[in-house]
Amino acid sequence: MIPAQFDYVRAESAEEAISLVGQHGDESKFIAGGHSLLPLMKLRLAQPSVLIDIGRLTDLSYIREEGDQIAIGALTRHMDVENSTLLTEHAPLLAHAAGHVGDPQVRHRGTIGGSIAHADPASDLPATTLAMGATYVAQGPNGRREIPAADFYKSFLESDLAADEMLVEIRVPKMTGAGWSFQKFNRRAQDWAIVGVAAWRSNGSSGVGLVNMGSVPILASSVSAALSGGASVSDAAEQATAESDPQSDLNASVEYRKHLAKVLTRRALEQASE
């Protein structure tokens, strides 16, 4: 429970943080809220030699309207996502999902950028933003680029971000008035989902993201395709596992996880259709 030794540098700007990573290379890591990184370090599963603290880049903590999108700074805490009136109006699914991340301490410290950069398939916000068709903005030594969520998650805990790139912004389309639901199934309220489903429906289109149903967050496009093809909610929900490849663990067998995904997808779609 004591991390291995490391150095600590606090970055004053995104540019500085990026150049610090450039300097220190592979052995360095950004630390935002620290709520994914520090537990790994305490178990010595991660042993970065330099931590670059981006936690005080308050200029990257914002939620604002940009045309038909809402732009969220990567350093925005889960708590602020949850309580944002802008999101509650235009993207309530995301605000609601953020309210289900961990516990209050985690939500006060953890950031949306850290959650997405960490690319944990068991985390709530990667799958939710994926379902919403979000775009992520990365900044590297050569400037910014946009990455569609659907192209971002490469493999377990691996994203499209280069080592010297920082996630700076998350953009989600406005879904004002859309039906939505976030179904998180866990044993204790504070835990990661055994299976989670983020879903929305609007004017014949839909999006369904699955939490903890494979090595990456899963976009259940077969469900959306079935709905577009006129399938009933319960028939469409039967397609929930088409894209998934879940693992078994202490809380679920593969079979049970698949079953849960279907039940929760059905419930999510029912709620989103109300």
Binding site: I2, L43, Y256
Partner: protein
Amino acid sequence: MTVTDNMATSDASIAAGNGVLGQRMLRKEDPALLTGEAIFTNDMKVPGALHLAVLRSPHAHARIASVDVSGALAIDGVHSAYSGADLADAWAGPMPCAWPVTDDMKNPTHFPLAVGKAAYVGDGVACVLATSDAIAHDALEAIDVEYEPLPAVIDLEAALSDDVIIHDDLGTNVSYTWPLLIEENEGDCQKAIDESAFVVTERYIQQRLIPMAMEPRAVVAMPQPFGGDMTLYSATQVPHILKVMTALTLGIPEHQMRVVCPAVGGGFGSKLNVYAEELLCVHLARTLGTPVRWNEDRSENAQATIHGRGQIQDIELAADENGKITGLRVRLIGDMGAYLQLVTPGVPLLGAFLYGGVYEIPKAFDFSCTSVFTTMTPTDAYRGAGRPEATYAIEHAMDALARKMDIDPLELRRRNFIPKDAFPYEAFTGLVYDSGDHDNAATVAEGLLDYGAMRARQAEQNVEGSTKRLGIGVSTYFEMCGLAPSRVLASLNYSAGGWESATVRVLPTSKIQVVTGTAPHGQGHETAWSMIAADKFGVDPADVDVLHSDTAIAPLGLDTYGSRSLPVGGVAIGMACDKVLDKARKIAAHQMEANEEDLGFAGGMFSVSGSPDKEMPLAAIAFEAFTAHNLPDGLEPNLEAQVTYDPPNFSWPFGTHMCAVEVDTETGQVDVLQYVAVDDCGNKVNPLIVDGQVHGGVIQGLAQALYEEARFDDDGNLLSSSLAEYLVPAASDVPPITLGESVTPSPTNALGVKGVGEAGTIGAAPCVMNAVVDALAGLGVPDVQMPASPLNVWNAIQQANKETSQ
């Protein structure tokens, strides 16, 4: 919200003269704990202390081919490092086990650091001393151990087969087989099973649990620079036992050994032990002449502090056509883990006497327990220790019997209750239950749950096709508490007694010191013991100070476990107060020139009956005892008495718990809608504390039923080694608890008390599990494996579906 939920009296200074007993007095312990002033062991500042870290085996079962600590020694700040072999000569004796339950019990010799073989993941194989905890942990990574891995033994029945033997010199994995012999009943049990109208045959698995006290263990060993005295500060619940055992295992003269417990953050049995790290710290501090400290981290706590439960229970329960129990057979396999710790083998025995529950059971009883070694963390006493397991088995089997007979489970219980007027009642085991009123406890609980209405709601809700099914759980229990009459312990081969000591002294200014041998770690003894003395002397509890948990201040005692502190230690305090009052009476009589028999004592004042002007306050007597200017001839000048009390019987708390759960059959999720507990612990010294004990106990029992399980993989790795995997429930995961009132004093002791530390835990697990199975019974689900996690519930439903479709 709850029936007994009237506000605590906010006036802590209840007027002297008394009626202090039974008040909801606020706790004296709280201000220090609420302000951060309380010092837990790891809060101690110890200049110059070396930090110990222990390298633990990553293998469940492996020969240790070699240990090379040179890498660690090369690190800056590392003082020294040792393998098990390096320290092999340090120990005067092996790690102690105080309960050789049978004469031929097998007990593998083991030492604070393993020598030759590691027998579970977490077994200490080497250690480091360094100038900081962080350096010591870094240094562990530089120790090179060569292991030759051997197959793990995780399954209890596989362990029994002796295919893989864990302790070579023992030649078997079986530690002992212990039968509970009821001599005149040979064959009666089989006859009952053969001839009774109804028999249920069940197998229950008590999963392994991790006690998870919030404060992990911590140790500071402080040698005296000259003279060889040693003070051990430890987060323990057994300072007195620990003192004797460290003296014995390290060859330290007992009078040079002192154990102190600073504030202790919960124990639940996990700190009722003598641990390797305590012995390592003391030994190293002693040989190096410098303080040595150790602080356990959370994962170490999960691996290297004892586990609890871990039993396979086979139970056959026979009943006649009316449901009257006619016979009972129990076969246990107990999981000892890798080694025997302090009372490991005794845990199943503590339950053996309780398999009859609260029922009239004929002597057709047949019990035996076979306990085996496995390559997992040693087990030992965890809150309830043997008694929750026994209660679970009989109460879960009673529900199975009720289903088989198609009668209401509460009705079945009522048909078998030992009637109120039968107490004291000699049970089929030969033990005598002190008092009880089971029908009352059940009736109170029934009213609080609104049992009839809940059954009606259930009938409405659990219709064909319903995916939200309601279940109602009932459990009753008798608990063997107040450990324990020393002679009974002797008959069970326990190596120590069960008495408790109290010293009460009235100081010259009439303030009172109570010295107790109990060792509280959350139970509020300072408050409750003050109340007992305040009641006796007619003073304000604020004028009583309770000294404890330091063997130099309270040299006599047997500590806190087994719901013993009040019915043994608290009773001793009352007796010591009486002794002091007897002496005070002599002084008062002498001073007032009156006959002792003519003296009355009330409100802190002695008075002479018939002479209203003649009175003398305790304060004046205290001062007389101090100056000794005018005492009766031959009377020693002090106002102090010591009592060592050996209880004549166990105490027998009992109760009824009821709950309602809703099971989502699509996901397997169980929600507890309502929970009602009626726990009768006899007279209550402080109902505020009693309620708190029950609340906490209930949630620990509920946690066994729904959340917690120490899971190992086939290689013997503990998979639930952090609080992310070992699911201690949070506030959001558990229901509020409604408490009902029932008070049946114990006739065994003057206070009429029974003890309450374990009661809630004992009632709760079977209550919740009975409700879960009750919810699913209509789907053909015969039982659900504990914990009733969504996965286990869903699997049970799938299994039942498969069977009905076949």
